[in-house]
């Protein structure tokens, strides 16, 4: 399902005015941020309904071609759940009119990452990477709800969707849980290349800091944390980022 279209300009003006008068109190904001942060950092990312295969799906991946099949989803979901021992990927058959829920881990991007054949890159390769610089801060008065960004020409070819982003992030989280920080960084770099301004870009940056800590590069993690905080002082992740490497 596509995201809904943005509100009209007039609606945005009214919402901006309203926002200046009413907002969640600090306690609720902090709690909400904590909940989102905890779930994202442990890989509990939103799940998706089964979607039909895009019309121009590349034929290079058998898994991608199978992706339109609900049966394939069940099988792949069970494989994922069994392999990772994670409870995050739930398969639930809904009523007959409702689609079967898919596991969060899409096979397309994950298989591309894992199937690359390259050994997990070490930190030496990941450390100098600068492709994941935090995005510039939005002006405080800007319309905050994200505008659906137009796909770049490169991105349009493969019709990337949010579920691909989620898949990559799940892959990175799984690698972190397995103690493979180098692989996590590799996947995060892949995400940064494909979705530099993706919906999960912020979560990626924070996850990368965690991966750097786990990989024994706290200095770089803290440097990225400082940059992140300078640009995103009110991010829901800010508190977590301030304590980066203190518990990893």
């Amino acid at each position: 399902m596509k995201p809904p279209s943005m509100p009209s300009i007039r609606a945005r003006v009214l919402l901006d005015r309203y926002r200046s008068l009413d907002s969640l109190d600090a306690g609720n904001k902090a709690r909400l941020g904590d909940v989102i942060r905890e779930r994202v950092l442990r890989g509990d990312l939103p799940r998706f309904d089964v979607q039909p295969a895009p019309p121009n799906l590349p034929s290079s991946s058998i898994a991608e071609r199978l992706w339109g099949s609900a049966l394939a989803k069940v099988v792949l979901g069970l494989m994922v759940a069994g392999a990772s021992s994670a409870v995050l990927y739930r398969l639930a058959a809904g009523p007959s009119h409702a689609p079967l829920e898919a596991p969060a881990l899409s096979v397309g991007p994950a298989s591309r990452v894992s199937g690359a054949g390259a050994p997990p890159p070490g930190l030496a390769a990941a450390a100098p990477d600068t492709s994941d610089a935090p995005e510039p801060p939005a002006p405080s008065t800007a319309w905050r709800p994200r505008v659906e960004k137009k796909s770049s020409p490169a991105a349009t070819v493969g019709e990337p969707t949010i579920d691909e982003e989620v898949s990559l992030m799940n892959g990175a989280q799984a690698a972190l849980r397995a103690g493979d920080a180098g692989r996590a960084l590799s996947i995060l770099n892949e995400h940064a290349k494909r979705f530099p301004a993706g919906k999960l870009a912020t979560a990626r940056q924070v996850t990368r800091m965690v991966a750097l800590c786990q990989a024994g590069s706290p200095k770089q993690a803290r440097a990225e944390a400082a940059t992140f905080l300078a640009r995103n002082p009110s991010s829901p992740f800010a508190e977590r980022v301030r304590g980066i490497c203190s518990s990893e």
Binding site: L15, L32, P145, I162
Partner: protein
């Protein structure tokens, strides 16, 4: 409902948000502040508050929460889906419906002369 989510829902709900006292305090603060906007801006904000608060009142709780977290608080749909532990498509659906109703309300208010075009 989990305690933290209940707390947020309670704040988003009309009874808490739109108590007369809170509203008056907000506008008094606007008018007396050293950096107070001009009267026209105060009126415009009050108009927006009344319109949107009334709109939120008319939404079902699930739509209200999603609309508020998205279009007032500025969270992304994936963030809301994570927070509420709800399928992302469900979030999209609720947000789409709420925005559609909001635009319809604006059109109605405009046609009735209650809102400047």
């Amino acid at each position: 409902m989990r305690a933290w989510l209940f707390s947020i829902s309670r704040q988003v709900s009309s009874h808490y948000r739109r108590s007369t006292k809170r509203s008056e305090e907000r506008h008094r603060g606007l008018i007396t502040s050293a950096t107070a906007p001009d009267l026209e801006e105060v009126v415009a904000r009050r108009e927006a508050e009344q319109l949107i608060a009334g709109f939120l009142d008319g939404l079902e709780e699930p739509q209200r929460l999603v609309f508020y977290l998205s279009d007032i608080e500025g969270l992304t749909a994936p963030e809301i889906a994570s927070a509420l532990e709800v399928n992302l498509n469900t979030i999209y659906g609720r947000l789409r419906q709420a925005r559609k109703r909001f635009e319809a309300l604006l059109a109605k208010q405009t046609s009735e002369g209650l809102l400047a075009p």
